[in-house]
């Protein structure tokens, strides 16, 4: 009992004693390719009681990292969007169909990513984009489903995000999705692991501060999937949830778990109003 308390105390101290001057979000503007301005700061949605303003993670990164996202050429995540376009056009599975055969050009999918995760009436569950791809793949293409957050799945998320870039995130939290949303909200405020940290401890109470050398953001996912400099690869939101929970020294949930679907719905809703950035570039 004493050990746990001590760890929690140290964790709190580490959080509240910033290494460098606690910088809030900076004042730069995100304009991609010189013509697409992204909403990166806006009023918090009504359901969010403890924040007045929501801010994209872009604002908490160093200038050089921010610059990488401002040009599709400099953005290393875009090379994987190219790969997803190839996948989109390639026929796969027993039906010999490609995504393009039913859906046309990827551009026609604009407006899809901003409303996901979404309640699917037929399936009777909230679905993430990746769950939807697999439904199409298995039931309509006769192809193998993609493992959650595997390369082709994350690359497809990046493609779906890139065609919806700039559109405001707008996930529904009421109606049939409400129960899943409440579950996600409860998770967000639950302390996990030996370090007894909840998402809110860092991302709601301490955004703008430093945890060791990391500049804490609000933990918004409007930029996901994101190209992380850390791993030099595209990372999906469930993958990041897994990492965060593991960092609290807890047994983390699996990438395709219903818990993370609920958490993704809740966290996405905290960003309702922010522009889709994907694929974003972050630390």
């Amino acid at each position: 009992m004493k050990y746990k308390t001590m760890t929690a105390v140290i964790a709190t101290l580490a959080l509240s004693a910033p290494m460098l001057s606690a910088g809030g979000a900076d004042d730069d503007t995100l304009i991609i390719n010189g013509d697409l301005e992204i909403t990166t700061k806006t009023a918090a949605p009504d359901h969010l009681e403890n924040l007045d303003e929501i801010v994209s993670g872009w604002h908490f990164r160093a200038d050089e990292t921010q610059a990488l996202e401002m040009d599709d050429f400099d953005n290393p995540g875009m090379i994987f969007v190219d790969q997803a376009i190839d996948t989109w056009n390639a026929p796969e599975g027993s039906e010999g169909k490609s995504c393009a055969d039913c859906h046309g050009d990827p551009e026609e999918m604009a407006g899809v990513r901003p409303v996901y995760p979404k309640w699917n009436e037929e399936a009777g569950e909230v679905r993430t984009l990746q769950m939807q791809y697999n439904d199409c793949r298995v039931n309509r293409m006769g192809a193998e489903p993609w493992k959650y957050d595997s390369k082709p799945a994350v690359y497809m998320d990046a493609l779906m995000s890139s065609v919806s870039r700039g559109m405001p995130v707008d996930v529904a939290i009421d109606g049939p999705a409400a129960e899943t949303w409440e579950q996600g909200k409860e998770m967000y405020y639950t302390r996990y692991g030996l370090l007894e940290l909840s998402c809110a401890n860092c991302h709601e109470q301490n955004y703008g501060n430093y945890i060791r050398a990391d500049h804490l953001s609000q933990g918004q996912i409007n930029g996901f999937p994101t190209y992380r400099l850390n791993s030099a690869s595209l990372v999906g939101s469930h993958d990041r949830f897994r990492g965060c929970i593991r960092d609290t020294r807890a047994e983390t949930f699996a990438a395709d778990s219903p818990e993370f679907v609920a958490l993704e719905l809740y966290v996405a809703s905290r960003g309702n109003g922010l522009g889709v950035e994907g694929p974003a570039v972050r630390n």
């Binding site: 050429f73 400099d74 290393p76 875009m78 090379i79 190219d82 790969q83 390369k151 030099a232 690869s233």
Partner: protein, 109 residues
């Protein structure tokens, strides 16, 4: 051949004769440095792109000898002189012997 290696180059469609154009190149490649160890503690052997060249109509623009400290998904930005219409040829040479290429044409405006 390493998996999923795909080049992406940015070349303007046209330029005035004698104009300098900025080129950007990116290629998806893990650039395994040879410094990492796997979960059993064995060193993961080095496997990188060790050379990048850019030629225009057969003449050299840039020739880079690359070492393991170049980041994953190697990126280069540099300037080329365009005196006539023609083709830029970009070549990446992998440690494992594979060669990746991309060609982009440019017109004179």
């Amino acid at each position: 051949m390493a998996d999923g290696v795909k080049p992406r180059v940015k070349v303007p469609k046209s330029a005035a004769a004698g104009e300098a154009v900025m080129l950007k190149t990116l290629i998806s490649h893990p650039m395994e440095s040879g410094q990492r160890k796997d979960s059993s503690g064995n060193v993961i052997p080095r496997s990188i792109i060790n050379r990048f060249t850019c030629e225009f109509n057969g003449e050299m623009v840039l020739d880079v000898a690359m070492d393991p400290a170049i980041s994953t998904n190697p990126y280069f930005e540099f300037e080329a002189m365009v005196n006539e219409a023609g083709d830029f040829k970009f070549t990446w040479y992998d440690d494992d012997g594979s060669v990746y290429e991309d060609t982009q044409s440019i017109e004179i405006a």
